[in-house]
């Protein structure tokens, strides 16, 4: 297999050039707004809107050019460190197919609506230009994830999206909660990204390229025979494509999605991320960025083995159920929606796991619309309450649903949007969620039906249970916020009101888009143009609706949502007695999201800090001290040597000196003594010598 043609450069066409413009425009917006942030004032928002509009226009244009027609691919070499014959060529390019252009339109549309909404929502913020700059950075990186043809570049933009998310969550950095949430989001994402990095390492070591097309092709070759040679420039390399290896690659890639798409066990960052401005939550933490994980899974789907798919469905179903359950006991309006997002993302991942890929991507799209709608509507609630707060001088928590009620009279448009989008979320017939979510549930049922193990039925059961809970919590939320008596704090002379076209326009658009009529047959997901087009992009040209399991799965799903809805209405619609009276372990479990935060704190975060402190102590008290001890012992040794030198070596010398001195003194004494004693000594010696001589 020759590698070179697989990663050969491809020409920049008109379409791909347009795509590059869509990509670069928000970056320009980021740079301009970033550098001129103090001088632009009100213009900042309009500039961002303009860029958003142009981006949307170009995206729609591209959509028309590509959808169900053809694909475009542009590729060039980024850098090349080829080693002799070994090809080490890092390419980069733009790839356009049904899936990409669909995502492109979705992201551009929601980004534009969110920017428009922000015109009113962020109007009074002193750092508004910085806000739009960060949004531009986000759009740029998100577009990058969608457009590039190459896993390395997806990873690059993946991280940049993480950065912009970090900056936007921490936008109100003076708030401790925002600062903590930003850090948490980035780090939990990073955990997933480690998996991504490892996947890149594994793929590179086998394929010498990270181009998705090339990898898919080579993978296909590999699946025909486990080992095959990859040759380039006359050099052949064996690649090992055993099932285990492939499964590990799949799992590592999935890790990335687990982080970004807030799947179990990394989902804990998303609820905290709500500390950012609400339009940001709508755009990044509901509609687009968190869906990037699902998009990635759809893009690399052919690389997944059966085992990986199983992991996907289990984790997805688990996340879906956990998210829905955790949403039950929340009272913060944004937290409820955040958990709902987690839950819906779980549904999508599960959908991919059970091979209902087009339904999952379809759900990605519909979810983006209605969840953005829900968040913006929540933003409208918060905004109008803040306005009221400012006007009346009262202090209230604008996000706490326990303090709300009867708001439908004051903010009817918001109410309407909330209901429409809510119906979309629970998958009510006639609304977008109905088509996509039922597709996923059908897929799950069909998958369980085909599986040999009875336990496989757990997956669709969890999905249906999720459906039930979803209906429950969202209707509960609507009732709590919009129905019933007005709360006590409400004084009539300062009415709560939604103000301005900038607030209303995005709500209307998103509310309307929550109807199913736009996506094909309003009651039959199989006949949707969107699902069909996506399926074409993923499975090639022949479109086979994956599952026709009869109508009973749909009935089941409908029953679930009716049951959930009815329960919510029964419980909260009638007497409005909230959970508050019962302190129950289940409730605490739900409120604290299964205590995951506390668990991670105990298992990972604190121990790693203790480990760090212990290592520091080791560093200072063992390593550094031993160096110092070595130094000190050197000095001590030197002193000992010096002592020896002084006493022994020098002592010997002194001894000799002393001796000669003594001897000299003796002789001196002889020499200097008187004549009489000299004679005496001489006589004595003579006597002595004579005595010796006689002997």
């Amino acid at each position: 297999m020759d590698l070179a043609p697989l990663i050969a450069p491809m020409k920049l066409g008109q379409e791909t050039f347009q795509a590059l413009i869509v990509l670069v425009l928000p970056l320009c917006s980021f740079l301009i707004l970033g550098f001129l942030r103090n001088r632009l004032g009100i213009l900042a928002g309009y500039l961002a809107t303009l860029v958003g509009l142009v981006g949307l226009g170009l995206s729609v244009n591209l959509f028309i050019a590509v959808w169900n027609y053809t694909t475009y691919h542009f590729r060039t070499t980024w850098f090349d460190i080829s080693l002799g014959k070994l090809p080490l060529n890092f390419t980069v390019g733009v790839y356009l197919d049904n899936l990409t252009v669909l995502m492109l339109v979705m992201v551009s549309l929601i980004a534009l609506l969110v920017i428009i909404f922000s015109l009113a929502y962020m109007k009074d913020d002193p750092q508004v230009a910085k806000y739009y700059a960060f949004l531009g950075l986000f759009q740029f990186s998100m577009m990058g994830i969608i457009l590039v043809d190459n896993l390395l570049f997806i990873f690059i933009f993946w991280e940049l999206v993480g950065l912009s998310s970090y900056l936007l969550i921490g936008f109100w950095y003076q708030k401790t909660s925002a600062a903590l949430a930003a850090k948490k989001a980035f780090l939990f994402n990073k955990v997933g990204d480690l998996g991504f990095m490892i996947a890149l390492m594994m793929l590179w070591s086998q394929f010498y390229t990270l181009d998705i097309d090339a990898i898919k092709f080579l993978w296909q070759q590999a699946s025909l025979s486990d080992r095959f040679t990859l040759s380039a420039g006359g050099l052949s390399v064996w690649t090992d494509m055993s099932d285990t290896w492939m499964t590990w690659i799949g799992i590592a890639l999935f890790c990335a999605a687990v982080g970004k798409s807030a799947q179990f066990p990394l989902q804990v960052w998303l609820p905290d991320a709500m500390a950012g401005p609400t339009p940001v939550s709508a755009l990044i933490h509901a509609a687009t960025m968190v869906a990037a994980g699902v998009y990635l899974l759809a893009r690399v789907l052919p690389l997944f083995t059966v085992d990986v798919m199983l992991v996907l469905s289990i984790i997805g179903a688990l996340t879906a159920l956990m998210g829905a359950f955790a949403a039950l006991a929340q009272s913060d309006i944004k937290k409820i929606l955040a958990y709902s997002t987690i839950s819906q993302l779980g549904m999508m991942v599960m959908g991919i796991g059970v091979y209902a890929v087009e339904a999952a991507v379809f759900h990605l799209f519909t979810h983006a619309v209605f969840k953005a709608g829900l968040f913006l509507a929540a933003g409208s609630v918060i905004h109008s309450l803040h306005q009221y707060e400012a006007a009346s001088g009262q202090h209230l928590d604008a996000q706490d649903t326990d303090q709300m009620g009867g708001l439908r009279k004051f903010i009817p448009l918001t109410f309407l949007t909330f209901v429409l989008c809510g119906l979309g979320l629970i998958g009510f017939p006639g609304f977008s969620g109905f088509l996509s979510k039922e597709g996923i549930i059908e897929g799950a049922i069909a998958w369980a039906n085909n599986a040999d193990v009875f336990a496989a039925w757990l997956i669709p059961v969890m999905a249906i249970l999720t459906s039930l809970l979803t209906a429950f919590y969202i209707i509960k939320l609507i009732i709590k916020v919009f129905f019933g008596k007005s709360p006590q704090w409400l004084v009539d002379d300062h009415p709560v009101r939604e103000k301005g076209w900038a607030i209303k326009f995005p709500l209307v658009v998103l509310g309307l888009l929550s109807f199913s009529i736009w996506y094909g047959h309003p009651f039959d997901g199989h006949q949707s143009w969107l699902g069909e087009g996506v399926s074409r992009a993923i499975f090639g040209n022949e479109f086979v609706p994956t599952i026709i399991e009869g109508k009973w799965s749909m009935v089941l799903a409908l029953l679930a949502l009716l049951a959930g809805g009815t329960m919510a209405i029964m419980k909260y619609g009638v007497d409005r007695s909230y959970f508050t009276e019962t302190v129950h372990w289940l409730k605490s479990m739900s409120y604290h999201n299964f205590h995951l935060d506390a668990i991670y704190m105990i298992i990972f975060i604190r121990p790693s800090y203790y480990l760090a402190s212990a290592i520091t102590r080791f560093d200072q008290h063992v390593l550094d001290r031993s160096v110092n001890l070595l130094g000190i012992s050197q000095v001590v040794f030197a002193h000992i040597i010096a002592w020896i030198d002084r006493t022994v070596v020098d002592g010997l010398v002194s001894l000799v000196a002393k001796f000669s001195q003594w001897f000299g003194a003796l002789f001196r004494w002889f020499v200097h003594s008187r004549v009489q004693s000299k004679i005496l000594w001489a006589v004595l010696f003579v006597v002595l010598i004579i005595l010796i001589w006689i002997r």
Binding site: L83, E159, L160, F186, M197, M201, T616, V627, G631
Partner: protein, 573 residues
């Protein structure tokens, strides 16, 4: 190409120092501008070399003298040793794809270092003279191709560093300076031992071909046959000669064929380990790193910048220039050890950084952690890994310079470096905070900045090694990846504690002094940030220069390494 550009790079600062020596000490401005002029002179010369640099295929350098560029070679010290032949020490400079990027790094950072020293008023004359002396020895180190010359510059660096830390440093400056000096000196002793061993074993084939009137290959052949008399041998310190096994005198200490073992290991492997130790201390690698945090904490800002950005690189450069090509079999034999030390440094440094309460110490440990990538990449001996190692050296040079300047900004204003002394600085110093966030994210390996390319290439290479040359086990790169998470953790935690939240300072009086960046500070940060981004977005800027050399390097070490290792085993059996 007959020019003396490399000499100009090396000695421009020294000449300037000579001129400044004549200026009376009271003219402080003279010394600042003079030092700036001297380092800008080197920078311009380096840029000109870069402009003329030839990165065509086959222009590789490493062990191939003829493909080095801008070579300057002349006799310096020649001694007739009588029976032992001749001693020849050369003034021998040259540049290839490994040294070119580092010369650019060093020449840029030295200029920024002068800017960072602008506030030095006390004993300014000696400060700037020592600084210029330091510049010369740094450039000399990166350009010398004669081991003796290299060692000279390598050692000479310690002198100005010792005084710069010891005289202009913080509270415990004397301790730190002595520790720095002695620790590095300790490492140098090992280098010196091997250098003497090499000198006694290697001949200069080119010179001998001139004296014997035969071709170079004939000289080598004759040498191996033992038909050259001892008094005819010209012993040399030429590194490129040391890289060829044919130039080793049969039976000499470090010859491949002498079968000499010390404690079960062949003498050549011991020599490899000695050199490794010497350069690991400089790098520094765990567990030889404890001099670094102290030296950093006590050194004045500019010297910290030079220390982190350039001096540490000499450790990595020494491995690439000297240790690996001269003893390739050691590179193979001890790949796992070097890789392990790399991973250890990555994780150990990051964990330490996480626990640090002093901002400067944290960044010092982050340097240790980042230098781990150099070791890991080098150990893999794949083109990606080695490119990554070199890239990391350059990238970390720019990033760590910015990081230490950041500490300097805070320290200059408050004389505190404790993380816990500050909160919510973003409100007080928004522009500074932007610089901090950019630099921190660059350092934690965010794509778009140079550090990402370096870490990516290193990790890809380290992982690839398993299937390519089977040197490193798979767990090493995987554990190293964990270091990325820890790195993100300590940087983000620091941002959150120091810059986010409500503005709060330990000492109220600091409020007035915490002004945003001055224009001189901007002048230091902007080029660094631009370079980080440029190298992050256009990796070929650097890789095009180094590609040929590194491809050749990896092929050389892999090829010769395995071959010579086998030989060694046969000989010592």
């Amino acid at each position: 190409m007959e020019n003396h550009l490399l000499t100009l790079i090396v000695f421009a600062p020294l000449v300037m120092a000579g001129v400044l020596l004549l200026v009376p000490a009271k003219h402080i401005g003279f010394f600042k501008w003079g030092a700036l002029l001297g380092s800008v002179g080197s920078l311009l010369a380096a840029l000109f070399v870069f402009h003329l640099y030839d990165n065509r295929t086959g222009v590789t350098g490493i062990d191939n003298l003829s493909t080095y560029q801008f070579v300057e070679k002349m006799d310096w010290i020649s001694l007739d040793l009588g029976q032992l032949g001749q001693l020849s020490i050369q003034y021998f400079l040259g540049i290839d794809g490994v040294s070119m990027p580092l010369i650019l790094l060093a020449s840029i950072v030295m200029v920024i270092g002068v800017l960072a020293s602008w506030s030095v008023e006390e004993k300014a004359k000696s400060y700037f003279l020592l600084y210029l002396l330091l510049s010369t020895s740094i450039f000399g180190c990166f350009l010398a191709l004669d081991f003796f010359l290299f060692f000279l510059f390598f050692e000479f660096m310690l002198l100005p560093m010792y005084f710069l830390i010891g005289l202009w440093g913080g509270v415990r400056r004397e301790y730190a300076a002595i520790k720095f000096f002695l620790y590095t000196f300790f490492g140098s002793v090992f280098i010196l031992i091997v250098m003497i061993g090499l000198y006694s074993s290697v001949i200069d084939p080119i010179k001998m071909s001139e004296t014997l009137q035969v071709s170079v290959s004939q000289v080598q052949q004759m040498l191996q046959q033992g038909s050259i008399a001892s008094d005819q041998m010209i012993r040399t310190f030429d590194m490129t000669a040391m890289m060829q096994a044919d130039n080793f005198i049969p039976g000499s200490v470090l010859s491949l064929f002498n079968g000499l073992t010390i404690g079960g290991y062949s003498a050549r492997l011991i020599a490899f380990l000695f050199l490794l130790l010497g350069f690991l201390i400089k790098l520094p690698a765990v567990p030889f790193h404890t001099w670094l945090p102290d030296a950093h904490v006590e050194a004045p800002t500019a010297i910290s910048v030079v220390l982190a950005a350039i001096l540490l690189k000499i450790g990595g450069y020494g491995l690439m220039r000297i240790v690996y090509p001269i003893f390739p079999e050691g590179a193979i034999q001890f790949a796992v050890l070097v890789g392990f030390l790399g991973v250890l440094a990555i994780i150990y440094g990051a964990l330490n950084a996480l626990a640090m309460k002093d901002l400067k110490k944290m960044i010092a440990f982050s340097s240790i952690s980042h230098m781990g990538f150099v070791l890991l990449g080098l150990a893999s001996l794949t083109a990606e890994g080695v490119s990554g190692a070199l890239y990391q050296m350059v990238s970390h040079g720019f990033i760590s310079a910015a990081l230490f300047l950041i500490v300097g900004v805070i320290y200059d204003r408050t004389y505190s470096r404790q993380i816990a002394d500050f909160a919510g600085l973003a409100t007080l110093m928004p522009k500074f905070t932007a610089v901090v966030v950019i630099s921190f994210f660059a350092s934690l390996g965010l794509p778009g900045f140079s550090g990402f390319i370096a870490e990516l290439l290193t990790l890809l290479g380290a992982f690839h090694s398993h299937s390519l040359n089977d040197l490193l086990p798979l767990w090493m790169p995987i554990v190293a990846v964990l270091g990325l998470l820890l790195t993100a953790a300590y940087y983000l935690w620091t941002i959150q504690r120091m810059f986010f939240g409500k503005a709060w300072l330990r000492n109220e009086s600091w409020m007035a002094r915490l002004t945003d960046l001055s224009s001189r500070e901007w002048l230091m940060f902007v080029p660094l940030i631009l370079l980080m981004i440029a190298l992050g977005v256009f990796p070929h800027l650097l890789l095009d220069i180094s590609k040929e050399s590194i491809s050749y390097f990896t092929e050389l070490i892999n090829g010769k390494g395995f071959e010579q290792l086998q030989l060694l085993y046969q000989m010592t059996k």
